[in-house]
């Protein structure tokens, strides 16, 4: 389904929609009269419903882990690690992935109609948190009749949801795999998000968030936001190796402001394609949810208390070249888990590709996830 210039992507036939049966109360105290999330599943749920794995997507991800994306026509975002015979093995496990609350791929968000007025919410949509996202997912699992998850897995903002799951619903999480993430969003990361949001808001087509009713979209601002963010997902080495100072389709510099360099051309392309599949207001809301994430804040600022008495087995994974969610953030999680004597494995996967490494072909990552999940499945008596 191609996106048109004035509409935001919506749900596709590949989705299933789950609607919360009663008004959904948010962490902010506000509530959503109507609340739905769009999700996909892969694999087969076994008879005792013990082989379910919840995949939590990152900031600009969605429920299309596998298969063809309905808007972009590209492969699912985690085809590298999920599928038949892959570490997240659809021959063995039942994979569930839901578009986050506040997202724009079929879940309720700022692009949804406000049931009390019939208008698109825009900025009148209440702020949502990582905890709110997780709470709706929990209701989805109730609906599916799944009491316990064999694993909750995700990278970046997905990893935040994993930690939130483990903290909030410890009895429902057999194992947790938070990848390239943090227990709180750092000042530097909030700063990057704010630059992205200001780029969106500076676009005259944004109209204070009311662009849906005005037949416009702030695509330029959102593209700039994406360009800035994309830099943070890569390491200096990765940029150097991929682009260096190579020129784009020309033999010499132009003495102008064209995309002389390949890196410029690449970023412009990333920005332009992003706006076809993502809603600007959703970008504001979901980045804000990450900024507000600080799991220790609800536990007297002592992170260990967020996991007190947990029986969940953790496999914490980081990448040394990830400067957005550096290994020190993962280590802080591990130290807190140690303090509660939780069962935790921690692996730093050698990769020079920066934060995005969790989405890429990283054999050591795959080997770790496969081995960890296999041992969990064996302990749980799954053949």
């Amino acid at each position: 389904m191609p996106a048109t210039s004035n509409s935001v992507p919506t749900t596709s036939p590949a989705d299933t929609i789950f609607e919360v049966s009663e008004p959904f109360v948010l962490a902010s105290g506000e509530s959503l009269e109507r609340c739905q999330i769009a999700y996909t599943t892969h694999g087969t749920l076994n008879a005792d419903k013990s082989n379910a794995i919840l995949i939590c997507h990152a900031l600009t991800g969605d429920q299309y882990v596998l298969g063809t994306h309905p808007v972009t026509g590209k492969d699912g975002w985690w085809e590298t690690i999920a599928g038949p015979g892959k570490p997240l093995d659809t021959d063995r496990y039942f994979l569930i992935c839901a578009n986050v609350l506040g997202g724009c791929m079929g879940s309720t968000g700022p692009g949804s109609p406000n049931p009390s007025t019939g208008d698109i919410y825009g900025l009148s949509f209440p702020l949502v948190t990582i905890a709110d996202m997780v709470d709706v997912q929990a209701k989805l699992l109730d609906h599916l009749g799944i009491e316990r998850l064999l694993a909750v897995v995700g990278g970046s903002m997905g990893g935040m949801q994993v930690l939130q799951w483990a903290s909030r619903y410890p009895q429902r999480v057999v194992s947790a795999i938070p990848i390239a993430t943090a227990a709180k969003h750092s000042s530097q990361n909030i700063a990057f998000h704010e630059v992205g949001r200001q780029a969106v808001m500076a676009d005259p087509d944004w109209h204070g968030g009311r662009y849906a009713g005005l037949n416009t979209r702030p695509t330029k601002g959102l593209a700039v936001a994406r360009m800035g963010a994309h830099i943070t997902y890569m390491s200096d080495d990765a940029l150097h190796n991929k682009f260096g100072r190579s020129l784009q389709n020309r033999s010499d510099i132009s003495f102008g402001f064209d995309a002389d360099f390949q890196i410029e051309s690449y970023l412009r392309h990333q920005g332009m394609t992003f706006v076809d599949r993502f809603d600007a207001n959703s970008y504001l809301y979901v980045t804000r949810a990450m900024d507000y994430f600080d799991i220790a804040a609800d536990h007297d600022d002592i992170l260990a208390r967020a996991f007190e008495g947990t029986s969940t087995r953790f496999c914490v994974i980081s990448f040394p070249s990830d400067w957005l969610f550096p290994t020190s953030e993962s280590r802080a999680i591990v130290h807190a888990l140690n303090a509660t004597t939780a069962k935790v494995s921690f692996v730093e996967i050698e990769s020079d590709r920066g934060h995005d490494a969790f989405l890429l072909e990283e054999p050591e990552l795959f080997a770790t996830v496969r081995a960890f999940l296999t041992s969990i499945a064996e302990r749980e008596g799954l053949a």
Binding site: R313, A339, T341, K343, S345, F346, V347, E348, A371, F372
Partner: protein, 205 residues
């Protein structure tokens, strides 16, 4: 890994560890000992290992092992949180052995330490006759590339245990073939012919 794969001290450590104990193996390598103890003693095991390769292999065995440094990361574990803490052939590779030993005694109700004996007669002879830092089967590194930066003899370790206020509940010395030396031999003999020592410590006198 600072030592060869086949570890002659494992069988004796295994004997010392009670069934179902909560165990932390500091410097657990690829997790061989933890895997053995989980299989034979049903322990609730955790591991800490510096080398990434070691950690990855241990996690691949389904063990709860984290990448970290005994010199810095032991502080994150609560007091008395493990029945048994094991430091097998690792003390000599730490920056601050005394501090590490104090941390182990804080975390564990019992601490098992195994160390290579620098006072072994082969090492003594090597230094005495050749005038070079000893390179033996049990200690195969040259002085310039050894990870073992704080060597001690069995007697030295007994001194350290006293200094940090620990009680040695049991001790044994193994010869180079991994056989346990006769219990009635005096310490001077152990210190001379033992290739490595195994100590069970308890915090306090």
């Amino acid at each position: 890994m600072s030592v060869p794969d086949t570890r002659i001290d494992y069988a004796i450590i295994e004997d010392f560890v009670p069934q179902g104990a909560r165990v932390l193996d500091v410097g657990c390598g690829r997790g061989e000992l933890l895997a053995l103890l989980e299989a034979t003693k049903g322990v609730d095991g955790r591991g800490l290992e510096l080398s990434q390769d070691g950690v990855n292999e241990a996690v691949a065995r389904g063990l709860s092992v984290i990448q970290g440094d005994a010199d810095t990361d032991l502080a994150t574990y609560p007091d008395g949180s493990f029945d048994v803490v094991i430091l097998s052939q690792t003390l000599q590779a730490t920056q601050a052995p005394k501090k590490v030993l104090e941390e182990l005694l804080r975390i564990g109700k019992r601490v098992i330490v195994t160390i290579p004996n620098f006072g072994n007669w082969r090492a003594r002879l090597h230094l005495l006759l050749r005038g070079e830092m000893p390179v033996t089967k049990a200690l195969p590194y040259s002085w310039y590339d050894t990870p073992n930066i704080h060597f001690c003899t069995l007697r030295d370790f007994i001194g350290l245990a006293g200094e940090v206020g620990a009680t040695i509940e049991e001790a044994a010395a193994l010869n180079a073939e991994g056989q346990r030396l006769a219990l009635n031999a005096p310490w001077a003999i152990w210190n001379l012919i033992g290739a490595q020592g195994i100590f069970i410590l308890k915090p306090g006198k």
